[in-house]
């Protein structure tokens, strides 16, 4: 993986990398991706699923309930007048 690609992926993933990290990850990921190319040789399979066992019809009734105390959740975050405080959007 070239350095430019590493930088682009890091931006998408919200990671800032130092120049030496960029070099190191470029080298590591190149080797790993080369190894992944083994997948190109695997026989084609018609079906695939997103889970290893069949997961279907698992949604429960949508009934309101309170599992966790809301005040405790609020207290674990940065709040102001009962509102969660976060960074600027623009």
């Amino acid at each position: 993986m070239d350095i430019e690609t590493v930088r682009k992926v890091a931006r998408v993933a919200r990671l800032r990398l130092t120049p030496s990290e960029e070099m190191q990850f470029a080298q590591d990921l190149e080797e790993v991706l080369q190894y992944f190319s083994l997948l190109d040789e695997a026989p084609q399979v018609e079906t695939h699923d997103f889970n290893p066992v069949r997961v279907a019809d698992i949604l429960r009734e949508d009934e309101p309930s309170r599992d966790v105390n809301a005040e405790r959740l609020r207290d674990s975050m940065d709040t102001y007048n009962d509102m969660v405080r976060g960074p600027r959007l623009s």
């Binding site: 993986m1 690609t5 590493v6 992926v9 890091a10 998408v12 993933a13 919200r14 990671l15 800032r16 990398l17 990290e21 990850f25 590591d28 990921l29 080797e31 790993v32 991706l33 190894y35 992944f36 083994l38 997948l39 190109d40 040789e41 695997a42 026989p43 084609q44 399979v45 079906t47 695939h48 699923d49 997103f50 889970n51 290893p52 066992v53 069949r54 997961v55 279907a56 019809d57 698992i58 949604l59 429960r60 599992d67 966790v68 105390n69 405790r72 959740l73 674990s76 975050m77 940065d78 969660v84 405080r85 976060g86 960074p87 600027r88 959007l89 623009s90």
Partner: protein, 445 residues
């Protein structure tokens, strides 16, 4: 049922072997009479009264207000949670050396690793009589450390044990399981932690756990798994197969499972893709480390927190998973890896039609020295998982058993059963350990 260490001994053992990321504030339960049986939970499992940091600096200070379902179920049985065990950051590792906190030391040789990522869980089990540890496995994180520390490690079928309260690594792969010193302990606690939980929908599709006896009569050994093993591990495994035949009347067939060679690549694509999305939530606002510099633009705010607090391996896997999901690569990597998973599942199903178990060594070598691990390139470390990854990718229940010793270090044997057939694993565990002497380290402090 168990013989608990005194609080003082527990603290001394922890100082020496770096087992726990956090010990319980109140250990007086250890001195009650009769003593309360103890358990530990991997630090990726939430438990009231403890931080849940999953080995990551980014979760420093996160105190969940609820118990993970398996923790809650153990506590309901009167078990005393003595601590949260050290692990690789978010489970990203084979040796528990990728931790933002302490690196656990192997009870058989302190210069060697415990294995990962449930390394502290395996060390606790090896060192503490009567202990049972809750671990979690995505690609082998129960089998590997159990093997390196010479204990039993049971990873149930995907969906058997609720993952409510488990800090996610890869949702299509994560499983909660048990580490113990004997088979009877596994038989006792598996039913307690198993079963449907409406808070984890994937646990609601399971057939009821059936632990009626299923005698293992015929097992398969894939020839593809017998490559790239250290000669010592190969020899101990071969001796174990002989003992299975002679002492336990088990028939052993060599089989071919060609798809196993693709499992490692498929696993790392799926695991890193899923991990990179799961880790997006750690951004300095909701959990753990809080970034108070809110005058920044959100991009800078998130990037600052993540860059300063994720470790090297976490960053590497986030990059890899983000890349594999990017436009243009999704079909080549992610979709292809899903297809390979089906191929691997089909191949296990074919072999397990005529066999009760698939047997391999658990790890290709014994616990390595820390100095050897430092010299490994990332791909080399990933490749060490080539025997534990296939059953994890396929969501199949599997068990590691101590099967021999090499210059005093434990060697593990891994048994894989059909989906939901945990009882075949308990049968082999009980029969094997009835004739095989499992050793535990003698530690004088």
């Amino acid at each position: 049922m168990s013989c608990c260490p005194s609080p003082e001994r527990l603290i001394q053992l922890n100082e020496r072997f770096r087992i726990f990321s956090e010990l319980a504030d109140d250990l007086s339960g250890l001195q009650e009479y009769p003593p309360r049986p103890t358990f530990s939970a991997k630090d990726s499992l939430c438990a009231v009264g403890f931080q849940a940091r999953a080995g990551s600096r980014i979760l420093e200070g996160y105190r969940p207000p609820f118990d993970a379902t398996p923790v809650w179920r153990m506590r309901q049985e009167g078990m005393l949670l003595i601590g949260k065990t050290n692990m690789d950051e978010f489970g990203f590792g084979t040796f528990s050396t990728n931790s933002g906190y302490d690196v656990p030391r192997n009870p058989f040789d302190e210069d060697r690793a415990c294995g990962g990522s449930s390394g502290g869980a395996a060390a606790a089990t090896s060192l503490l009589e009567g202990h049972v540890a809750l671990g979690a496995s995505t690609g082998g994180s129960i089998s590997c450390p159990a093997s390196f520390c010479g204990v039993l490690g049971l990873t149930p079928t995907y969906g058997r044990v609720s993952r409510y309260g488990l800090i996610d690594y890869g949702n299509s792969l994560d499983k909660v399981g048990l580490l113990a010193r004997d088979a009877a302990t596994l038989r006792t606690w598996l039913p307690i932690i198993s079963g449907p939980d409406p808070k984890d929908p994937t646990s609601c599709v399971q057939p009821m756990l059936d632990l009626t006896p299923r005698r293992v009569e015929r097992v398969a050994v894939p020839k593809e798994a017998m490559q790239n093993l250290s000669s010592g591990v190969e020899a101990r495994f071969a001796e174990s197969l002989l003992r299975l035949q002679e002492e336990h009347d088990v028939l052993i067939d060599e089989v071919s499972m060609p798809s196993l060679r693709y499992a490692l690549s498929a696993y790392y694509v799926l695991a890193t893709s899923e991990a990179s999305t799961n880790l997006a939530r750690y951004c300095g606002m909701r959990f753990g480390v809080r970034n108070s510099n809110i005058s920044q633009h959100f991009n800078d705010f998130f990037s600052e927190t993540r860059s300063a607090n994720f470790g090297v391996e976490a960053k590497r896997r986030i990059l890899l998973g983000t890349y594999a999901r990017m436009v243009g690569f999704r079909d080549r990597y992610y979709m292809k890896a899903l297809a390979v998973r089906q191929l691997v599942i089909s191949e296990y199903k074919r072999v397990l039609q005529d066999h009760d178990l698939v047997l391999t060594p658990t790890m290709p070598f014994v616990a390595p020295r820390f100095s050897e691990i430092e010299r490994m390139r990332p791909l080399e470390a990933y490749q060490a998982d080539f025997l534990t990854v296939p059953p994890n990718l396929a969501g199949l229940p599997h068990l590691t058993l101590p099967c021999g010793y090499l210059e005093g270090l434990p060697v593990g044997m891994q048994a894989v059963a059909s989906h939901w057939e945990e009882r075949a694993l308990l049968d082999i565990a009980e029969r094997w350990t009835s004739r095989f002497h499992v050793r535990f380290p003698e530690v004088s402090l």
